[in-house]
Amino acid sequence: MSGARRGSGEPRLARWLLGRLLAPEVRDAALADLGEDYGIDRRRHGRLVAGLRYWREVASPSLWRLRREARARRRPASSGGWGTSPGRRQPAAERRPAGWGALVTELHHAARSLRLAPGFTAAAAATLALGIGATTFVFTVFYGVLVQPLPYADADRIAMVWADLGDGAQSLPAVHALDYLDYREWSTAFEEFTIATGREVILGGGEEPELVDQGAVAAGFFAFLGVAPATGREFTPEEDVPGAPPVAMLSHGMWRSRFGADPGIVGRAVELEGLVHEIVGVLPRDFRLLLPPEAFLLRDSDVWVPVRIDPERLPPRNYTGFTVLGRLAPGLSFARAQEDMQAIAARLRDTYPVHAEANTRLRAVPLHHDVVKTVAPALRLLLGAVGLVLLVACANVAHLLLVRGTSRDRELAVRAALGAGRGRIALGILLESLLLGAVGAAGGVGLALSGLQLVGGAGLSTVPRLQAVDVDARVLAFVLAVSLATILLSSLAPLLRGMRTDPAAVLRAGDRGATDARARRLREGLLVTEVSLSLMLLVGAGLLLRSFLALQAADPGFDPDATLTFRARLPRDSAYGPPEARVAFFEAFREQLQALPGVVAASAVTQLPLTGSGPLQPFAYDAETARRWESVTADSRRVLDGFFEAVGAVLVAGRDFAPDDREGAPRVIVVDERLAQIAWPGEDAVGKRLQVDPEGDPDSFAEVVGVVRHLRLHDLSRETLPQIYTPYRQYPSPWLSFVVRTGGDPAALVHPVREALADLDDRVALDDVRPFRSLVATSLERARVSLWLMAGFGLTAVLLVSVGIYGVFSWTIARRTRELGVRLALGAAPGGLRRAVLWQGLSLIVPSLLLGSALAVLLARSLRGLLYGVAPLDPLTFLSVIALLALVAVASCWAPARRATRVDPVEALRDE
């Protein structure tokens, strides 16, 4: 076999197939040609087009012509093969294995009979394409996100270390750097640990200062992940010590956007926070640092520097600002890893009082699980749902095949009578189905690809790993398996029927064959299955819809309409060194903003709602919580004056901060209703004093001056931690996120805001400029996408079902033409006849709806975790779905029923 060239990126399955199918004389040359063209196409048109063109070669009919021709020229003894001596072309030898002829004949026959029934063919192929396409689409995403290992070395052995502090006070993938040194010392299950942290820095030296994410990583961090830099190298241990000369690595994106993809980048300089760093390497283009959503400091960054742990300059061990990854020793389980981390935590508690007080516990969570856990339930649900759609599609195609089968009974019976064996007849039926399946599968893959492109283009930020999703050989193998299973399942019923048919009976009885009753039972069974499965899907979609509406209508505690948000960060230099200078700048900027025309209110906060978790603040309100400091914590936000008004929060008691609450004045805080309820149930919180610093600190208490309604800072669907707001003035950080409320379109404010900022100081970096609404939209994104897909599947199923019902009744009526004609001729009222036919239809629908409801109850139970504000057994959803399906059913029976009463008795009787 030809040695496969690694790394060329050609679709491996297609290459393998071509390796088998190409005539050996040209195989190597043609594969080399294709590889070359693939490379060119990929650069010019992208991977998808190049892949499709490559696959087209597999489907090319000339492939077979080439084989025949090559075989023919090999035949004469004189011709030794390609290029040696020109041989004459010979007619292709008709040496075929036994049965080959029958197969080809049947194949031609099947193709012809499909062409002759374009309506049936189109309906069946479209149904198959819908089912297979939807399944392929969901499976591809499911596989890419949930099944495929993370793109790191030994990814299945990488664990994220989580620390739990207090009594549910904090649970984050964040630990202290000194603890990390202890893990390395004490661990018995891990081969290796690595550490990283991150923050935002100002990248200077260009025209405009830019706010970028900077990751700080241990030497060997990228080697730990099995990632080699695209250019240069990663940090050495010598560079990862305090005081070493500053060095940096760039992300591929940063290298391209800021440095024009300079090939001589290594050795050039980059200015970070005013300090010149030497660039030592660039990361590869497809590198992504995948993290759980709770990781709050470290991000997939633009620039990277060595972490340089300096024990002299670290805060106490309960300040957890680092992310630690560990790699399990080969052959050990995560259960073993967990035991190991528990032992380490126990030792930490024994050794350090801080850990004993906080009751520190550690967990080792598989990184893959951690990264995808938020989307896993929705993806599993969708995979299940799409499986149901596929089943409905199967039932529908089986239906169509059956209907077709019965009308072909005579043809088959004649063939049987003329001596065609049962095997031969079965072969015919099977080939026809397979041909249909091939058409359907091709259409399905096309649908799936367009769906994937749509999803890729939609830029869904909340689904991790979506960039990694791709149609590869495994996915195609899956499609093949699903298509085969689908088509076999669909043709099972017709096949059994075709085999059992007694030709004599059929020929004798004419149109209304003896097999009618059995066929009808089969079809009715299929119909019941279809309707109940669709009901299940629709109930799922309905519940998600109700849940989504509830989520949208939920009061988040703030008002995102007509409001612009953005972040401003001060340059790190002496001008803004003193805290007063920062306060002065931001207060001046706020005043400028408020003076802009159209602005109703403007203020700022250290972290906007729905932009991830922020810092936590331990607090104590009685002796017990004070003794166990850090046993309870709150979300901590620092705000400028007027924040609550600007964000649209409701102040339920007390007052907002005022200019007098400055540094040096008594400490004041605003808390949310939840905190007030926890600390002083039933009492007025205003005027109470809350402990916000460990005992022993002078001035460790702050006075509550106001109470606000809880703001849903993390997640629209639930209230999370209690909240403590402090005046920015008392703890000024170098950045703030602004909230500017206007009467009109927030986009109109962007330009004036930039001008106002540039007037004050053009070195201040501005970013993340967007309407507040878009933050809300992003946080609803996952729910919205699940809803769309589920609704899409539900509607697809309904469409299939209505086609199915219509098909069955049209057929039934057509077969009863004679009987109906006789009854009309004998004076039956058309209305009564219509009712009778309709009734026959409904007598099937009612049990389907009952069965479907029972199944839907099971589905709804499993949906519980994805629902918000609606009970799984929501009667409104169930009833409306049942009503909708009943309506669809009646509508689908209506046309055939009407046709029944339009039968011309004379025609009907002459029919025979």
Binding site: S2, G3, A4, R5, R6, L22, A23, E25, V26, D28, A29, A30, L31, A32, D33, L34, E36, D37, I40, R56, E57, S60, S62, L63, R65, L66, E69, A70, R73, W82, G83, P86, G87, R88, R89
Partner: protein
């Protein structure tokens, strides 16, 4: 002496081989040449069927080039046009020219009118 009739695909392939010369006429390159000049994108197997026939007719000759000096590099099959091939192309063109005779002007007139 040649009375070999060339199909249209055969003509295209033969012309492309000729255009590309001795050094550069291999499958992928020939295919791109045809696509660039005519917009027709052949499948690689169709191209090789054609080239095989041309070789059978003695109009082109093929041989293996040195493999590329990269890991797993494959030997390219290069094609070279034979004198008979050039003759066949000339004959085909002459034949076409004779058929076109007198039509060009008429066709132009038809367009003008």
């Amino acid at each position: 002496m040649t009375d070999t009739q060339l199909g249209s695909l055969e003509q295209l392939a033969l012309l492309a081989v000729w255009q590309l010369g001795d050094e550069d006429a291999y499958g992928a390159r020939i295919r791109r040449e045809i696509a660039a000049r005519t917009g027709r994108r052949l499948s690689i197997s169709a191209l090789y069927v054609t080239l095989m026939r041309l070789e059978d007719k003695g109009l082109v000759r093929s041989f293996l080039a040195e493999p590329e000096p990269v890991q797993g590099g494959k030997a390219k099959r290069l094609f070279r046009i034979e004198p008979a091939g050039i003759e066949a192309l000339r004959a085909a063109r002459a034949q076409l020219d004779r058929m076109w005779e007198g039509l060009d002007r008429g066709a132009d007139k038809a367009l003008v009118r």
